[in-house]
């Protein structure tokens, strides 16, 4: 297998205007929490909250573009949202291979996204198969 147990990866993502607008234009989720500043503030957030599933796009980029091999596919992923992400937040992404199954060439990653306040905004697991 190309990946090794405990192998770690880091990357920085920014939820900028292009990502935010692009997500809305493709998926058309214009829920007020994501698009209305006052609505979001009335719900206790400091600004409009970015779509959690933007982070799943970052995960796709990680698996598809940042690993040392392109010969991979995602089998499963789970993500837990712990803190809100706001427009222009810079997120430090960390992932580590926590488990491998040589027989079926499967790697399990634990990952987390950390914001500038060092709070984990999301964490989870991804299972991928090496071809």
């Amino acid at each position: 297998m190309i990946l090794q147990e405990n192998q770690a990866f880091k990357h920085q993502f920014k939820v900028d205007e292009q990502v935010y607008i692009g997500f809305i234009s493709v998926f058309e989720d214009r829920n007020s929490l994501h698009t209305d500043e006052e609505f979001a503030k009335n719900k206790g957030f400091r600004s409009k909250v970015m779509h959690g599933n933007i982070l799943n796009g970052f995960l796709s980029y990680f698996i598809g573009e940042l690993l040392p091999t392109e010969d991979v596919m995602i089998l499963s992923q789970t993500i837990n949202f712990k803190n809100p992400v706001y427009l222009d937040d810079v997120l430090n992404f960390e992932a580590v291979v926590t488990d491998q199954s040589e027989a079926v060439r499967v790697n399990t990653f634990a990952f987390k996204f950390i914001n500038a306040d060092l709070k984990t905004v999301a964490s989870g697991k991804i299972q991928i198969k090496e071809f």
Partner: protein, 78 residues
């Protein structure tokens, strides 16, 4: 664990991984007998079985199995 106990534990794993509590496993069950047991779910099953029983299989072991009973024999031999 004896074979029957492993079969019972495997049945629970199959229920969870294949999202079907109606699956009934026997020693003779093959992938052809279980609609949800396809190539991708097979991978998930192997990973789940390894984790549940604390064992590691080789690719040649997996390829040698003809039915659930042979999977159980392999687990017992670990």
């Amino acid at each position: 664990m004896n074979k029957d106990e492993i079969l019972a534990k495997l049945t629970g794993i199959f229920h969870d991984e294949l999202d079907n509590d109606g699956i009934v496993l026997s020693f003779e069950t093959t992938a052809e007998d279980v609609e949800e047991w396809d190539s991708l779910s097979h991978i998930q099953l192997i990973v789940a079985v390894e984790k549940a029983f604390g064992v590691r299989f080789t690719s040649s072991e997996i390829q040698s199995w003809n039915n659930v009973g042979e999977m159980i024999d392999c687990i017992l031999a670990k």
